[in-house]
């Protein structure tokens, strides 16, 4: 519901702007719009954080966080890249499903599911500001340094 309100608010303002400034850049988002969009994102990040630490993705009690505390070395900034264990160039979502089906012994998530989007949101948010390096298989990449709290506002 809330998401629909945000979306329609944004649509209305985009619509109004696009007729006024057809050939020009749009007006920057207002502070309120940015706050609303961030709030939406952080809600998904929080949901992803909960899932990341939840055994319900698998069948053997393990969670993503068993091997990736603070999303460490999930390396979302390096995807897409060739994954030897998948035998192809894989997206981050495909890698998440590999982890769910192998180490966690669970069932793959539909790649466009709310759960998958949440896991992706959490991992990427923990790597905010990090260099985008698609294809990099040379090293492990650390997430943002977290001193306290879950790692996001």
């Amino acid at each position: 519901m809330k998401r629909k309100i945000v979306a329609s608010m944004l649509l209305v303002s985009f619509g109004a702007l696009s007729t006024l400034y057809m050939a020009h850049a749009r007006k920057p988002f207002t502070k309120e719009e940015i706050e609303l969009m961030n709030k939406e994102l952080l809600e998904l990040v929080k949901k992803g954080d909960e899932l990341w630490h939840s055994p319900k993705l698998g069948t053997n009690g393990l969670t993503c966080a068993n091997c990736h505390p603070d999303a460490a070395f999930s390396n979302p900034n390096t995807f897409p890249k060739f994954q030897p264990n998948l035998g192809k160039v894989a997206t981050f979502r495909e890698m998440v499903n590999w982890c769910i089906t192998r180490p966690l012994e669970g069932k793959a998530l539909p790649e466009d599911s709310e759960e998958m989007r949440a896991l992706e949101a959490y991992a990427y948010y923990m790597y905010r500001g990090k260099k985008l390096m698609p294809g990099d298989n040379t090293k492990a990449h650390p997430p943002v340094k977290v001193k306290e709290g879950p790692g996001y506002p």
């Binding site: 966080a65 505390p69 192998r102 180490p103 492990a140 001193k147 879950p150």
Partner: protein
């Protein structure tokens, strides 16, 4: 050494300068104090014998039958039982279970019973915070202890004690346990051994001579590695101070699930692998960047995990060998880490 103000090395070097011909009991007779040192030291050191012990831990058993972590733990037990030369004993370095359940600890107890040599054990946070160590203590006794073996003084401590984070939050025992079961628990605070054990440690080592070889076992590292994941012990500085009178202290810890090494003052410190899963390296500069492990294949339950054995010689030189099943170790670590 401290009380006489002369180390063995200084003494030997001084006596060499005087000349070995003069270095006789009669020449030293008036200096009875010095003679005492030499004799006492010799006798202390001569008590030392070569021996091997094993360190295993972070088995994180779940209350699920035929779990993957049962397999790695049992493989390790089998390897330990087949080891040649045989270890004199095994140290279990904490986190036997995952959620502190009696059923997990009992499964672990049964696996440990399969060892053909005796074992000593310290707790990890995963063993403790469901019932505040009740089941663990019933099964394994006091969580801190010391014993002497072939001239070496072994100390084990419970390093996972935190300040109360649950009462104010009205958490159930399960919620308390689930919170600390996350490495990045951000409400749990820093771990330590706390006052009672610091006082005990002080009493325990009070009468020991400074040349006594010391091995100290804790679940968490006795140095500030990465506090966010409790790769630390809050009162480690006090522990190191109490042990600072000794010539050499070998500290062994679990919890990090990885190959890691450090030296602080008289203490060399080495981390043990888990049999369950490996942790990534935190984003800090390692004090000994050569002593690490390779990238792990997450599709192989036997990769990135293992245990360790330590060989000690008559001069208290130690060599730690990581026992692994995959191609995990760089050549330098494969040869054994000098302790």
């Amino acid at each position: 050494m401290e009380r006489k103000g002369l180390t063995r090395r200084q003494f030997i070097s001084a006596s060499t300068k005087v000349g070995s011909a003069l270095f006789t009991a009669s020449a030293l007779a008036p200096l009875t104090g010095v003679v005492d040192i030499v004799e006492a030291k010799t006798s202390k050191r001569s008590k030392l014998q070569d021996f091997r012990f094993v360190v295993i831990g972070d088995t994180h058993l779940y209350d699920i039958p035929n779990h993957r972590f049962d397999k790695t733990f049992q493989r390790a037990v089998q390897d330990i039982n087949n080891m040649n030369p045989k270890p004199d004993f095994v140290i279990f370095i904490g986190d036997l279970g995952q959620f502190g359940k009696r059923s997990e600890l009992e499964k672990g107890y049964r696996f440990l019973q399969q060892l053909k040599v005796p074992y000593r054990i310290v707790p990890g946070e995963h063993d403790w915070y469901l019932d505040m160590g009740e089941a663990w203590k019933q099964m394994f006794g006091n969580p801190f202890w010391s014993f002497d073996h072939k001239g070496v003084h072994f100390i084990g401590m419970n390093s996972i004690l935190v300040r109360d984070y649950w009462t104010m939050r009205n958490m159930s025992p399960e919620e308390r346990m689930n919170a600390i079961a996350e490495l990045e628990c951000h409400i749990c605070g820093l771990w330590g051994v706390r006052e009672e054990q610091l006082e005990w440690l002080e009493r325990d080592v009070k009468k020991l001579r400074p040349d006594t070889p010391i091995v100290i076992i804790t679940h968490s590292p006795l140095w500030d590695y990465y506090p966010r994941w409790n790769f630390q012990t809050e009162d480690a500085p006090q522990i190191r101070k109490i042990l600072s009178k000794f010539e050499k202290v070998i500290a062994i810890h679990g919890h990090v699930h990885q190959v890691v090494f450090n030296k602080i003052g008289n203490m060399v410190s080495i981390g043990n692998l888990a049999t369950a899963w490996p942790w990534p390296y935190p984003d800090v500069k390692l004090p000994y960047p050569d002593i690490v492990m390779h990238r792990v294949d997450p599709g192989d339950i036997y990769d990135g995990v293992g245990f360790m054995h330590v060989d000690l010689d008559k001069s208290f030189n130690g060599k730690a060998m990581y026992d692994v099943w995959a191609d995990l170790l760089p050549p330098k670590v494969k040869q054994g880490v000098k302790l």
